[in-house]
Amino acid sequence: MFVTSPKLRVRSPSPTTVEFTVTTAPSHLLTRQVVTWSTVLLRLLACSSGVLLVLLKYYPPQTFTLSAHVHAYIHLLLQSISVLSTRIPWQYLLPGAAAALYIAVFAPGYTEESLLVIRDLGVQISTTTWGGRRSRFIPTNAVRDLWIHEGFCGFEVRFYLAVVVEGEEGVVVVFPTLLPNRRILELVWRGAKGCLYEPRRVGR
């Protein structure tokens, strides 16, 4: 929901530490906040309306009495929802509620994927989505190589940046869900290579 095309952001407080972030979030901070909160609100709305419709269909408001403290508006709201729910037959209501719940939980928000390169420590690949954050750290002496390659992804061929890990069967793809274009990848590759290893010593 409300995502932009993947953009690269580089943070490098010192030449030995670089963080490359590819994100689909809006770049402006305020827009980002607004978008985040509005998506959360929408999710909540979808979730609660699905649950409420089913519950009020099952227990119509006549069957339970609300205490006097409950605000009149809430009562009115419940009444109107229950009127709506009585109109919709069960066979449409249940799949509809299930779909609303599914969308509320699984609809993708924005995705942020980053590659953190710290000299003498290693590289860290992380993916942050609505579902949470996954990260993996690979120490430098386990990094065999860092390369850009192309691979099939559905019906297209995409370039990807990958870390070859010592003694592991597969390569670890950097930015695995966003798979940004080659221009971005080349920038990241150059930066990461330059940062990960110490510069070649003169006179050796």
């Binding site: 943070r11 407080p13 010192s14 030449p15 030995t16 530490t17 963080e19 953190l116 710290i118 000299r119 003498d120 420590l121 290693g122 860290q124 992380s126 996954r134 990260s135 993996r136 750290f137 120490p139 430098t140 002496n141 065999r144 190589d145 390369w147 070859v164 003694g167 592991e168 069967e169 390569v171 290893y197 110490e198 510069p199 010593r201 003169v202 006179g203 050796r204």
Partner: protein, 761 residues
């Protein structure tokens, strides 16, 4: 451009030809020079100069360039990257103090603690004379060995006025109440990059620790066995593994140059160990520094203090007496306990031998047939393993708490204990229900069994005998088969009627067995189900046989029909000249069998689906058993309660340097600086249930394979999944080979002095 050059060349050539005298004068000059020996002298000079050049200048240039290179190297060495590991729980005040920690290399330091109000030089002396480690419970060498260093150093000072130059062997840091992060003095002119890596100290007492690799909940030896693995469907896996290994070899050819790893890169594991030890190291330092600093003068006690003292000493005398009695009785108690364990172990050993006994090596043992025996086996093996696990965990007490090797053992031990306790609790609830309602439960079970396996079966067979769903079957064959099965069912129902009065008793016994855990009645019920549905199994076998025979006959008759024949010797189809009568008879039989096939097929389908339903039910019960026996309950609880105890690796977070620097009080120039947070990632839920996923995948791979489906369709015997594969998870918490009696005796008795010492302490 080219025309211009051409023009110039043409112009010069023209000029020279026009001024021919210029050339003649040049030739004259040449003659003059030759006559006076100018050329010879010039050649000599050139030769001498070249000699000089080759002898002196080139070597000097080489040496100089190397020197420059060395200089550059030294420069880079000193002006490179400085790494500081800093604990986040430092005291945030502006009092002066000194930094004590590990010096992993010149530019790689690890801060263990800040000591306030002490003299730096004195601490350095104490550290080198090792008098600061005096009050340690365990050997200090051990913790030094863990951290990979031989001594602690004074690394620098806090909140003191720095000198003009930056020295990596004594850094100056500043802390302040308002600032979360330490500021480190380093003028930008020194050209050093800074990495400040902040970490939260893991608490060893709470068994928190950091680890580069995810903690493994399964036993190690089990895992290696699994990866080597042998079994029917691991051949495929083996081949796949070989293919992948080849690919990995190819992958290695791709990377051309690989820089040799530096010391800092190699020291990551050591640093993680230092992080794990830092809490206890700090405790030790704190205690000793307090001892050194407090030179309290002893004054004489006042009267009231004396009264209190004598009262407490009386109490102490009573306590001491009690302790002495306990100490006197303790060895006897432990001896008795060990003896009891050994007797129990002997009983368990005999039972296990019985369960594992096979008539012949290729035949199934008792535990392979019956779920109850399997359950007994697991429980007995657990009982055999517990003392050894406990002894291993006990040994942990004799070492620093920062030693993290036994934490997975701890989790495994308590997981299995907790599961058994849970099992017993659920079992007691279930058992009391069953015992109280034994007759009701028996009636229900009997009712459902009769309704589905006898009456339902009968109704189904009668339906099949008379044109099911309008399908026109062969009446005579259908009647024959149906009568046959009905006859057997009637006989079975008669036997059941004889058994029925005893069923409440059996249920009662099951109810009692559930006091040994809820898994027991489930396993017993699973066995009871297989016994009480024996007739369905036999029907399935019989109908499958008939169906399979008919199918094979039809296939061979089809070959005959085509004038071909199967050559068994060469395993191929040959053409064959049949006689007329052979062909005629064969064709007639072929048609007959083809028309009779649907009748047999419906019976086969019915019994096969009944059998499948029973297998499903048993699989559900097995899953329930697996959950009761091996659910990672303790690990899940730890994950919720304190996820630092279940490390799944480490994670770094780059902090915003601008925001960090804004908080600093002192205004020194800031070098290129990055603040990084080191955190522990908890073990993901997927990794906890990894074995369940693996098991599910194996079962799916086995039963949804084309081979098995073909077997089912042609009525051949469906090969059961290899038991070893199915129970690889079941035993992942237990060692492959259980320890013998003698080993147990040795382990238990060598623990004795340790116990006594622990009590004496």
């Amino acid at each position: 451009m080219r025309p211009l050059v051409l023009t110039i060349v043409v112009f010069i050539a023209g000029y020279i030809t026009a001024r021919f005298s210029l050339i003649t004068q040049a030739i004259d000059l040449g003659y003059f020079a030759w006559d006076h020996g100018v050329l010879g002298r010039a050649t000599k000079g050139f030769l001498i100069l070249s000699l000089f050049f080759f002898l002196f200048f080139i070597p000097i240039e080489r040496i100089a360039s190397r020197e420059i290179g060395l200089g550059e190297f030294l420069l880079m060495g000193s002006n490179g990257l400085m790494r500081v590991f800093w604990p986040l729980d430092f005291q945030r005040n502006s009092r002066p103090g000194i930094l004590v920690g590990w010096r992993n290399s010149e530019l790689d330091i690890f801060v263990v603690d800040i000591l306030n109000g002490v003299d730096g030089r004195r601490i350095a002396e104490e550290l080198s004379s090792r008098s600061l480690y005096r009050k340690s419970l365990h050997s200090v060498e051990r913790i030094f060995e863990l951290c990979g260093r031989t001594e602690l150093h004074v690394l620098g000072s806090v909140n003191e006025e720095p000198g003009p130059l930056f020295q990596p062997d004594h850094i100056y840091a500043f802390t302040d109440k308002s600032c979360r992060y330490p500021q480190i003095f380093c003028p930008p002119a020194s050209g050093i990059d800074f990495q400040v890596i902040l970490f939260q100290r893991p608490h060893p007492r709470r068994m928190q620790y950091l680890s580069l690799t995810p903690i493994s909940l399964a036993l190690e030896d089990r895992m290696t066995n699994g990866s080597i693995g042998d079994g029917d469907d691991t051949i495929e896996e083996q081949r796949e593994r070989e293919r992948k290994a080849e690919l990995v070899e190819k992958l290695k050819l791709h990377s051309v140059v690989r820089p040799t790893p530096t010391m800092k890169e190699k020291s990551l594991q050591m640093i993680i160990d230092q992080v794990n030890c830092s809490h206890e190291m700090r405790q030790l330092l704190k205690e000793n520094v307090r001892l050194i600093m407090s030179r309290r003068s002893r004054r004489s006690l006042s009267v009231s203090e004396r009264v209190v003292e004598s009262a407490t000493s009386l109490w102490r005398i009573v306590l001491k007496g009690l302790m002495d009695t306990a100490k006197f009785l303790w060895p006897f108690a432990t001896k008795l306990f060990v003896l009891m364990i050994l007797i129990w172990r002997l009983v368990a050993e005999t039972l296990l031998r019985v369960l594992e006994w096979r008539l012949r090596p290729e035949l199934a043992a008792l535990k392979d047939i019956s779920a109850t025996a399997q359950q007994f086996d697991i429980r007995l093996q657990q009982f055999c393993y517990w003392p050894i696990q406990y002894v291993t965990l006990r040994r942990r007490k004799a070492d620093w708490e920062s030693v993290t090797t036994s934490h997975p053992d701890y989790i495994r031990f308590y997981n299995s204990l907790w599961l058994v306790a849970n099992d017993v609790i659920i079992g007691i609830a279930l058992g009391s229900y069953i015992i109280e309602n034994a007759s009701g439960v028996a009636y229900q079970i009997d009712y459902y069994l009769r309704a589905y396996t006898v009456e339902g079966m009968k109704a189904m067979i009668s339906w099949l005998m008379e044109r099911p769903g309008g399908l026109k079957l062969n009446d005579d064959l259908g009647n024959f088969l149906g009568d046959l099965f009905l006859w057997v069912i009637d006989y079975w129902a008669d036997t059941m009627t004889n058994i029925r009065p005893h069923l409440p008793g059996v249920i009662y016994a099951i109810g009692f067995s559930s006091f040994a855990g809820a898994s027991m009645p489930i396993a017993l019920f699973s066995d009871l189900l297989s016994i009480l549905t024996l007739h369905v199994y036999s029907f399935y076998i019989a109908s499958a046989r008939i169906y399979n025979w008919q199918l094979t006959i039809i296939i061979s008759l089809f070959h005959l029909f085509r004038g071909k024949k199967r050559n068994v010797l060469r395993n191929r189809i040959d053409s064959c000249d049949y006689d007329l009568d052979q062909l005629l008879i064969g064709t007639i039989l072929f048609t007959l069998l083809i028309f009779l096939l649907p009748t047999v097929l419906v019976f086969y389908l019915t019994f096969a689906s009944a059998r499948m339903a029973i297998i499903m039910l048993k699989a559900a019960l097995e899953t329930l058993l697996a959950c009761l026996n091996h659910f990672p309950l303790f690990a899940l609880m730890l994950r919720v309660k304190d996820s630092k105890r279940l490390p799944g690796g480490i994670r770094f977070e780059l902090l915003d340097t601008v925001a960090v620097v804004k908080g600093f009080k002192r205004t020194y120039g800031v070098p290129p600086l990055s603040y990084i947070n080191l955190k522990s990632t908890p073990l993901p839920f997927g990794a906890m249930f990894h074995q369940y996923f693996q098991l599910g995948q194996r079962i799916r791979k086995h039963y949804v394979s084309p081979h098995v489906i073909l077997c089912l369709m042609t009525g051949r015997f469906v090969p059961p999944i290899h038991r070893k594969n199915l129970y690889s998870m079941q035993y992942s918490m237990l060692p492959t080979k259980r320890a013998g009696m003698l080993e147990l005796w040795i382990r238990l008795t060598e623990d004795q002095p340790g116990n006594g010492a622990a009590l004496a302490n």
